[in-house]
């Protein structure tokens, strides 16, 4: 028993003597992934973190903590000590928790370590759909009100933002939104004909497009992607989209506010190096993601801008539970 006690004391002493940030990290770091195993956040985080570990010289143990659209993981990390030993690995949606009534915390409680990459939304259709481009789809909706089935992933998801954008720019569209729990299952349903059109992230749809199991309609960006040069940008059909684009979901690593600056700097540095690794760059490029790799003020500014634009877009489309104003989210351009 006494030997165990001594062991514990030694370990305690070790912990105490190295608590200064200079030697960070002295113990394992926990990385809490907001989404389930096998999802795109999971894949991105699991492929960048080993490179970041090398740069950091520490161990980052990654755990998936799912539930309540990621709010459980966010709250978990927010309430963890701000010592840099608990990281949040998440996607864009916490920025909408407040206005969607899903929680009272968002990334404003966190310091961004690195916003790794951004996805580009693309509108894809079932091969049997009676139209081949964006203009054709609009004509079809006008002729057949309430017949087009468009996939969605719940309020605040990428499809809901894209649909809100379309409603704002084109006027209200009479379509049926069929909910799925993620773009993977929705794209499966698209191929089986259960839905006609799906706004998805380019990376999730690209393999299907290449193989011809679904057809691309339009890219939600200001210019075509070099991955799919034949797919036109939506701004070529309607200039008004330019107000909202480029827009896309993103992946980032965060720590709770109050984490010592030098710890944040070390982590930012490690993830910046990790994100530059050719393997990771290659992977992201293959999946059609746009590398960002920003941190510090630049990342904060990006988050604020993203939140303002998206929150007001959704609010104006009548999809929110509470006005962004209540949470001090300013209308973009104000």
């Amino acid at each position: 028993m006494s030997r165990k006690l001594i062991g514990a004391l030694v370990a305690l002493g070790l912990g105490a003597s190295v608590a200064t940030a200079q030697d960070y990290p002295t113990k394992e770091i926990q990385g809490i992934i907001q989404w389930g195993a096998g999802g795109s956040t999971d894949t991105v985080m699991r492929s960048v973190t080993p490179h970041a570990e090398d740069a950091l010289g520490g161990t980052i143990v990654m755990q998936n903590m799912t539930g309540a659209v990621g709010a459980i993981a966010l709250n978990h990390v927010a309430s963890a000590p701000a010592d840099g030993y608990t990281l949040l690995m998440g996607a864009e949606n916490p920025m909408l928790y407040k206005i969607m009534g899903l929680g009272d915390k968002d990334y404003s409680e966190f310091v961004p370590i690195n916003i790794l990459a951004r996805g580009t939304p693309i509108l894809v259709a079932n091969n049997e759909a009676p139209f081949d481009d964006y203009a054709g789809m609009m004509a079809y909706i006008a002729e057949n009100p309430g017949e087009l089935r468009i996939g969605s992933t719940g309020p605040g998801g990428v499809p809901s933002v894209i649909t809100a954008m379309m409603n704002t720019v084109e006027g209200d569209l009479d379509v049926i939104a069929v909910p799925y729990d993620g773009d993977g299952p929705a794209l499966t349903a698209l191929q089986g004909g259960a839905i006609d059109v799906m706004p998805a992230v380019l990376g999730a749809a690209i393999e299907g497009i290449r193989a011809g199991t679904m057809k691309p309609l339009v890219l939600f960006d200001t210019q075509a992607s070099d991955k799919l040069p034949d797919v036109p940008a939506v701004t070529s059909f309607n200039e008004d989209y330019a107000t909202y684009l480029p827009w896309g979901p993103f992946f980032g690593v965060f720590v709770p506010k109050g984490t010592p600056d030098d710890v944040v700097a070390k982590l930012s540095d490690a993830y910046a190096k990790g994100a530059e690794h050719p393997d990771f760059v290659n992977l992201m490029d293959n999946r059609g993601f746009t590398m960002m790799g920003i941190s510090g003020d630049e990342a904060e500014a990006f988050l604020t801008k993203w939140q303002q634009g998206t929150a007001w877009l959704l609010h104006d489309a009548g999809l929110t539970k509470a006005s962004p104003e209540e949470f001090g989210i300013a209308r973009p351009g104000e």
Partner: protein, 191 residues
């Protein structure tokens, strides 16, 4: 015999079968109370399900919950009624056959385990639990108890914490430092 009862009449206490216990033609101590609690709880859940989205749409998030809690209320009601009509079994008592002291003690252990898991951490709580539980059940010396408890705890800890990196609540023990210490130690030795 009741044609409704398709169970195993030899093992009515539920211990000897993957299928449940219970008698077909008698009511066990506490059985009626249990059936009534289930009925009341089902009613409350039905009310709660109605509160989700009411009768707004067939596709509402509350549609399936309402249907399923309605079935629960009906089934629990029928069970309660049938149980009420059955004669009570006189050879059994609640404290001997349903809730003996050792079961209450262990349920208590588990509740305390749940409460202490976060503040004390997994390793400490599990060590306490295993020691007490084995001591109570095996009624053997402390040497045996501690050896078995700590031996198995170490194996479980290594499998879950080290191999499967499950981040069990650390509590008061500086677990992460400990592992990192050994990790640096090992990698230092290797290089």
């Amino acid at each position: 015999m009741d044609p409704e009862f398709r169970g195993d009449s030899d093992h009515h206490d539920g211990t000897s079968d993957a299928t449940p216990g219970g008698y077909a033609e008698g009511r066990r101590p506490g059985e009626l109370g249990f059936a009534l609690i289930l009925t009341v709880a089902s009613l409350y859940l039905l009310y709660s399900a109605y509160g989700i989205s009411g009768f707004t749409a067939l596709s509402g998030p509350g549609a399936v919950p309402m249907a399923t809690t309605f079935v629960m209320v009906m089934a629990a009601g029928i069970v309660a009624l049938r149980t009420w009509r059955l004669p009570r079994i006189t050879t059994e008592t609640l404290s001997r056959d349903i809730l003996p002291r050792v079961v209450i003690l262990f349920i208590g252990f588990l509740i305390v385990f749940g409460l202490l898991l976060k503040p004390l951490g997994f390793v400490t709580t599990a060590a306490l639990f295993l020691t007490l539980a084995i001591k109570v059940l095996a009624r053997r010396g402390w040497g045996y108890t501690l050896a078995v408890a700590f031996g198995s705890l170490i194996v479980i800890w290594i499998v879950f914490r080290v191999v499967f990196t499950v981040l069990l609540p650390a509590g008061i023990l500086p677990e992460a430092e400990f592992i990192q210490f050994f990790r640096t130690f090992l990698s230092g030795g290797a290089s």
